[in-house]
């Protein structure tokens, strides 16, 4: 199997793994640590969190910040890969 054929398969499986639960499982898909928080309250009902986050950002803002996080990372990856591609093409030409 060629490398790009392999890559197609890899991507297909990754997408499938993310989409399949949405289709086959009827649930809220809330965060796992929200569930852990509930579990802590079940196990230790009297536990009081003794610190709180510096800022409680609204859900919408939070989505934006998560997107920003992904964008910054993807931008850097794109830059580095682009740089490597340029370099390798330059050496090939010489």
């Amino acid at each position: 199997m060629s490398r790009s054929a392999k890559n197609i398969w890899i991507l297909a499986i990754v997408v499938l793994l993310a989409v399949a639960p949405l289709i086959f499982i009827n649930a809220e898909f809330g965060g796992a640590d929200g569930a852990a928080e509930e579990m802590i309250q079940t196990i230790a009902p009297h536990y009081e969190p003794w610190a709180s986050p510096l800022a409680e950002v609204p859900g919408e803002t939070e989505s934006m910040l998560f997107a920003l996080q992904a964008a910054i990372g993807a931008g850097i990856i794109g830059y580095v890969i682009g740089l490597f591609k340029g370099k390798s093409e330059k050496t090939k030409q010489q």
Partner: protein
């Protein structure tokens, strides 16, 4: 030459499509998805994990300094490893348990540089999420950094070395390392919560089963995804024959920091 170019272009396009699809599918919904929340570890345990984490951070800084001194060309690769962790830990992916969690992205850097530099790169990502996103927290940062930036990479590295030594293919070794680093992170998180909150009946073990049921099982398909994405980006890197990559490969075969 033309054929090779087309191949590279095809895999580049594929990666772009992949990330786009990923981000579309993973449109963030309900919040909370990050390890142990602020204030949710008793003071003693919060301090304990900070103390456990700091030596690894110092060793990590030293390891990074050594890498950048011996081979300044690898700074770019370090940036790439950090960026990969940055992207993957922003992806909240729905899982089979009906909740969402995200990969850690520490496997790539672990395979390239060994586990120590990841203690720095991984904790930087966690700091960003704790301060800006209110995910995780500063009091629990020690514990979260220990699970994601120390324990996960250590487990992944052990698996990578073991598989490479036993003559497995590198692709398989990288996949396993990334998946194990991801899964180990959440198993350690479950242990951290279990020792802090032992159940009245059954104690730490019973608690571990409960937290493991939330974190570790959710994480299994995500660990597979992370392993696959790590192999994908490694394949992509390999299609460019750069000096950086050959330096890196020489280092990966030789002894490690």
């Amino acid at each position: 030459m033309v054929k090779l170019k087309r191949k590279t272009a095809a895999s580049t396009a594929l990666l772009v499509i992949g990330f786009t699809l990923f981000l579309l599918v993973n449109e963030p919904q309900a919040v909370y998805a990050m390890h142990i929340m602020e204030g949710f570890l008793p003071v003693g345990w919060a301090i304990f994990w900070w103390v456990a984490f700091i030596p690894f951070f110092i060793l990590g800084v030293r390891a990074i300094r050594k890498i950048t001194k011996e081979a300044p060309e690898l700074k770019l690769m370090l940036g790439l490893a950090a960026a990969f962790t940055f992207v993957l830990s922003a992806l909240k992916i729905p899982s089979v348990t009906g909740s969402s969690s995200h990969p850690t992205g520490t496997g790539l850097g672990t395979v390239m540089f060994g586990p120590l530099p990841m203690s720095v790169l991984g904790s930087m990502v966690l700091l960003f999420q704790a301060v800006l996103l209110a995910h995780g927290g500063l009091t629990t940062l020690g514990a979260n950094a220990f699970s994601m930036a120390v324990a996960g990479p250590a487990a992944g590295y052990a698996v990578y070395r073991l598989l490479m030594r036993s003559g497995s293919k590198q692709g398989l070794a990288i996949f396993s390392a990334a998946a194990v680093a991801d899964l180990a992170t959440y198993i350690v998180t479950s242990i951290q919560l279990a020792v802090a909150f032992p159940a009245v009946e059954g104690g730490i073990i019973a608690s571990f089963m409960k937290f493991g049921g939330i974190f570790a099982i959710t994480q299994i398909p995500l660990a597979v995804s992370e392993g696959l994405l790590t192999v994908l980006i490694w394949n992509w890197l390999q299609s460019f024959n750069t000096d950086e990559l050959s330096i890196l490969k020489r280092r990966m075969k030789g002894e490690r920091v």
